[in-house]
Amino acid sequence: MKLSSLLELGYQVHTSVSLQDEFEGAYVGDLLSVVMKSAESGNLLVTILCNLNTVAVAVLIDIPVVLFTENDEVPQNIIDKANQEQIAIFSTKKKSVDVIKELVKQEII
């Protein structure tokens, strides 16, 4: 699925990563140890943990896109790091559970 599909759902994009880049499936989690253990390479990561370490974990396990939930403002240092590492960052005020419902309904995951 293309990153542009997330934009079409109204999620805010913060990075300059190409929206033609793709992801496959999703993982939801806020504890980085568990995210590292269970997320699969290529997944969209849905998390409330808006933190530099989230980007570092995404780089390590080949997560191309992170969607921060319950928050639509992302600090500039996180955006800079994500741009540098070519990780796309989206955000929304919605809750993780509602994001997943929406992604399933739209057959994005």
Partner: protein
């Protein structure tokens, strides 16, 4: 056939900003060496967890990456204060982490558990003067041949 590769990284205490930079560089190195994806994932997860442990819990330390023949070694060394009870520290969910590490997404008591599950062999030695964590990963023969 024998081969040898070595790289050393310093890990600073409480430096959440740079936490993971050694593991990130180790991952890039393994990619350049054309190590297979499944091994890179296992090494990356273990390395990152161990690096974060040094950042959160220690007075500072380092990690050394060695690749010798068909085996990859990571050795994390720090200068204390040591782990009181290793058996307890290995229990899933047990944590002594501070509020700040929890705010950074860690401190759930899963680090050592994840490390043990990822590495082929793990040795943990600790006293108040410091902790040494040795991890061993067996490379696929074709990976090892590529590196040489």
């Amino acid at each position: 056939m024998s081969s040898f590769y070595h790289k050393h990284y310093t890990i600073l205490p409480n430096d959440y900003f740079n936490a993971g930079s050694a593991s990130s560089d180790i991952k890039k190195t393994l990619k350049q060496l054309k190590v297979s994806k499944d091994i890179i994932k296992k090494v990356s997860v273990a390395s990152y967890e161990a690096e974060i442990n040094v950042v959160i819990h220690s007075f500072g330390g380092s990690v050394d990456l060695h690749i010798v023949n068909h085996t990859l070694y990571l050795q994390f060394t720090d200068s204390g204060p040591g782990i009181d009870d290793i058996e307890l520290a290995m229990k899933p969910g047990y944590t002594t982490a501070s509020e700040i590490s929890r705010l950074n997404g860690f401190g759930a008591g899963m680090g050592l558990v994840n490390i043990k599950a990822s590495a082929d062999e793990m040795t943990l030695i600790s006293d108040p003067n410091g902790t040494i964590l040795k991890l061993k990963f067996f490379l696929h023969t074709e990976d090892a041949n590529e590196i040489i």
